[in-house]
Point group: C2
DNA sequence: CTGAAAGCGCTTACAG
DNA sequence: CTGAAAGCGCTTACAG
């Protein structure tokens, strides 16, 4: 049924070698032969089996992406960007979700390695503190790109937002709006991303001589949105003096917004919020909410770009060099009243 | 570097055949030998190369999903469901987006076929009217499951919502709320899904003796949300007498909601809306909006279930039988005031 | 310019 | 119960 190289060779009275070479444009095949073979191959709709070729090329034309979750729309956009750019370059993309768990993340890396994908791209789970699995990827000569939540301990291509600066700007904005008592939500005590966000927040407070108070930092537990919802509700009922909230995470903001929409008036005009988000703000209907847009799709494209670059170096047998890219959010916060 | 079957055989002084059989639990290998080989394999972390095995087994352990877009959160949930269930069963999932274009859909099917995936799952693009690519899948002995937007012209496993009934119930509900002039949004004139939705809408009107008026049906163009936004805005400005709106599509509802949130008061209390949606309603802050929840994740799981079932029949060399499953929405509409 | 041969890492029908 | 041999569909170093 399925047509093979051998079959084509037979039909055309040449050797399989010649067919294979012609299709790959080897310079030692005559133009005439190439033309004949290519024409016939096209006619019968032949394309070499990727699986069979793998045995020799060691390439599967598949890459894998591991994200913490699918709830955060940021990752949906990112995945879209990865798939779009990968498709254009002939790669298929396998998607996996770590559930923000180091254990699952390790399992998935193993599965991907087992499938012998050409590249693995990971936004680390928020509790990942051991990097054996990442070293294993590198040892197996598979391309590794870390994005969004990365780590300094591993030497590979990295792409993330300039979390420190973005958090500084967000916090500074709340301060400039007159807020002094500013809540900060944190989803992890160990992830690089969360640490950088915290540093940015602290830096802004310091710069404006606002004392840091531990009680204004809330660590969200597993169900980030529910946790945030309950927390803000309790805060509201306790007649807290909070003036501003900085939420560096879309999922957490879902919980907060849910509460605000339930309350309508009261809280609305009192508390100012800045949140990182992949969405447009207007849909939420909360005038004191300002979203700093994070463009996941763009980051997705950059991931593939860095991967293709590495593949190219590999092919040319050149030494690998790694880069760390810091992206900016899409728009600055300016119109928070 | 990478350990092979041959290498293990050498270390253990047995033949590669024996190792292969032991690892697959062939009954003709002694328990003792099996134990020894398995232990060693585990110790050195050996797993057979999927790529190499393919040449004989013709299985890649990869399946592909093609959805119209990633904008509709319904598909995000669905993809999550597919990945979760597939992972549990040792399959990796490749995700592709057709952009609701038949042309792109065909290209992607070809790419997936080229990779020789074990199964392909498609929600057809809304303009797909030619099914050659689907027949090609079937001819190549690859499992095909159609979901969400399917077609009667192809014989394979199918899973979708009971669109006719859901649309009937939605329309009926608006009628029971006192609406007579009910708008219906439609995203395609040719897709089975859209046709069924239209039939349900018509049926409800007929049953309650409400004359069907063509002007109450609006066909959304490419950018569904923007189109819907502009349309509802114009409708509002023209002081239309519309009383209720039935939106059978989440992306369209995004445009409508955007407008309502801009208007706040006026429209709010006048027009009742029912929309299919994968989201929770409370976040939108529109009291006259009722969402009929479509559980994408559940559908995703069912897709894999039907696939595994087919793979099983194939393995047993039993004749294939196909099923068409109609799912219900998660909750009935009851609390629309 | 062309092709015979080896080999990538497995699986399985067959022989013993 | 074990293993030699063929073969899955390609690619490429080598010979001519």
């Amino acid at each position: 049924m399925k047509i093979t190289l051998k079959e084509i060779a037979k039909q055309l009275n040449v050797s399989p070698t010649t067919v294979s070479k012609a299709l790959q444009d080897y310079p030692d095949i005559s133009a005439e032969t190439k033309k004949k073979i290519k024409k016939y191959a096209k006619q019968v709709g032949y394309t070499p089996s990727i699986q069979a070729a793998y045995l020799r090329t060691q390439k599967t034309r598949i890459v894998g992406v591991i994200v913490p979750n699918f709830t955060d729309h940021f990752y949906n956009g990112l995945i879209e960007g990865v798939i779009e750019k990968a498709s254009k370059n002939g790669y298929l993309v396998v998607i996996l979700q770590s559930g923000d768990s180091q254990k699952k993340e390790k399992k998935m890396v193993n599965r991907l390695l087992h499938q012998q994908v050409d590249g693995i791209f990971i936004s680390l789970a928020r509790d990942t503190i051991n990097y054996d699995h990442l070293n294993k990827i590198i040892e197996s000569k598979t391309s590794l790109t870390l994005f969004d939540n990365t780590t300094k301990s591993i030497n590979c291509n990295k792409i993330s937002f300039d979390e420190r600066n973005e958090s500084f700007v967000a916090t500074e904005h709340l301060i400039k709006c007159g807020c002094k008592k500013i809540m900060f939500f944190r989803d992890s005590l160990v992830s690089q991303k969360s640490i950088d966000q915290f540093i940015g927040y602290r830096k802004a407070l310091d710069q404006y001589n606002i004392p840091f108070e531990k009680k204004y930092v809330h660590i969200t537990e597993n169900k980030m949105d529910d946790d945030a919802y309950e927390f803000i509700k309790a805060l509201y009922n306790s007649k807290s003096e909070i003036e501003g909230i900085f939420i560096p995470n879309h999922v957490i903001s879902l919980g907060i917004i849910k509460f605000f929409n339930e309350q309508k008036t009261v809280f609305h005009n009192k508390i100012k919020i800045v949140s990182f988000s992949p969405l447009n703000g207007q849909q939420w209907g909360h005038s004191n909410l300002k979203l700093i847009k994070l463009n996941g799709k763009k980051m997705g494209g950059k991931i593939i770009k860095s991967f293709l670059n590495e593949q190219n170096l590999l092919k040319m047998k050149l030494p690998l060099t790694f880069s760390t890219e810091l992206l900016k959010s899409k728009e600055n916060i300016t119109n928070l009243k």
